[in-house]
């Protein structure tokens, strides 16, 4: 979900501090998991949808961003529907879908650098204990968001190259050239991070 770009705007969610948004998202997750009562979950899902649309993201773009995760949610819900009960399936769907929509709403209204700053701040206590370097973790998050689309695009290119040469396109055979090319770039990117003065020690 994070690979969606934040959109400019002045909605309520845009104005809330990042930390508060993350805390609210966390609280919402706990509440959603405390109950299986549809009288609570259905309104929660509707509210999440309203919040997502209030960010100024059009319905089409909103759907494009969440459809992949929603599809997974649907599969999980379907499994519950078949193997547990219809009510449980519906509850699982509402609960997870509401969470996905809320997370998408937070993502759409939070700039990545604000998000990285917040991660750094949240991790500072752990840094004092000597467990992590906060700046490293936040850079790692930034790098994932930066390069995931690139890696997906490269996967597409390798698949096209296989097709062009009449080779079967099997995910596993594509993985090897993908990994090799990605590692080669990773070296250069690590160098670029040094070149820009990031402290690694």
């Amino acid at each position: 979900m994070l690979n969606g770009l934040d959109i400019e705007g002045d909605s309520l969610l845009h104005r809330l501090p990042v930390r508060l948004k993350l805390a609210l998202l966390f609280a919402a997750a706990i509440l959603l998991f405390l109950t299986s009562d549809l009288r609570f979950l259905l309104p929660a899902l509707s509210l999440a949808l309203v919040l997502l649309l209030s960010t100024g993201l059009g319905p089409r773009e909103a759907f494009r961003r969440v459809r992949f995760v929603l599809f997974t949610v649907l599969l999980v819900a379907l499994a519950n529907f078949l193997f547990v009960s219809a009510a449980e399936g519906a509850a699982v769907f509402c609960r997870l879908a509401a969470l996905v929509l809320l997370a998408a709403a937070v993502t759409a209204t939070t700039g990545i650098s604000a998000f990285m700053d917040e991660i750094t701040r949240l991790l500072l206590p752990f840094e004092r204990l000597g467990l992590v370097r906060a700046a490293d973790v936040s850079l790692a998050v930034g790098l994932v968001i930066r390069f995931v689309p690139e890696i997906l695009a490269r996967y597409g290119e390798i698949a096209a190259a296989h097709k062009a040469r009449g080779l079967p396109v099997r995910p596993l055979t594509l993985l090897i050239p993908l990994i090799i090319l990605t590692l080669k770039d990773a070296d250069t990117i690590a160098m670029a991070i040094d070149a820009r003065g990031f402290r690694r020690h």
Partner: protein, 226 residues
């Protein structure tokens, strides 16, 4: 600013990428040419301290790139062969701010410097764009902005017009010509070196010629034709 190579050498697993190189660079516009694999990128990365000489030393404004790594690196900025490889954060403005953040500047200062550099290069409208969606010319400008924003005295560019169309090539040429900073350009695009003060020709890891552009380019053409 003076860049001094003192018998600087580079070996990779027994193979020599750069034979002992001794030279001093202080001109405002320096070009570097040579065949593929002749050691140009290796030499350029040595100035930035990303590649450490296996023997000998390199100093930037008197600072050794090994013992004074951070201070020496702060004086130079490097644009990589593929500008996309040096954009580290997903949104252009954030990526430009990255180098400033690493220097511990405060938020207000970071924002005003980022905005100023975006305007200087006429790319303020790209500030919030995802870097992987930028075109070749836009990436190249973005990369230059992200490096110059921290105020290096020397800008090193590794084949800046490599993947550009004619229009963007001309745009980069104009941009470089207008830079007040000292510039060192590695290129296969020979017309880019018109009006340069000095051109180095590398061949098989050695400095084969070190002349004014016209003479150096003729030497390079001789090397290329044998």
């Amino acid at each position: 600013m003076d860049i001094v190579f003192s018998a600087a050498t580079m070996h990779y697993a027994g193979r020599v990428a750069l034979h002992p190189l001794s030279l001093s660079l202080c001109e405002r516009r320096i070009g570097v040419v040579g065949l593929n694999g002749s050691g140009k990128t290796t030499m350029a990365r040595m100035i930035n301290g990303l590649v450490k000489p296996t023997d000998g030393r390199v100093t930037v404004d008197g600072l050794d790139t090994i013992t004074d790594e951070d201070a020496a690196r702060g004086k130079t900025g490097l644009i990589f062969q593929n500008p996309q490889h040096q954009m580290i954060l997903p949104v252009l403005a954030d990526d430009i701010a990255f180098g400033l953040k690493n220097r511990g500047l405060d938020k207000v200062e970071i924002e005003s410097r980022t905005q100023a550099i975006l305007e200087r290069f006429g790319i303020a409208h790209l500030a919030r764009r995802r870097v992987h969606e930028l075109s070749g010319g836009e990436s190249q400008l973005g990369a230059i902005a992200s490096v110059l924003v921290t105020g290096p005295e020397l800008l090193i560019l590794d084949e800046p017009t490599n993947q550009l169309d004619l229009k963007n090539r001309a745009m980069i040429e104009r941009t470089l010509a207008a830079l007040p900073e000292q510039v060192l350009v590695i290129t296969h695009d020979l017309p880019l070196l018109d009006g340069f003060d000095r051109v180095l020709v590398f061949h098989e890891g050695r400095l084969a010629a070190d002349e004014r552009p016209q003479t150096a380019i003729s030497a390079y053409k001789r090397i290329a034709s044998c």
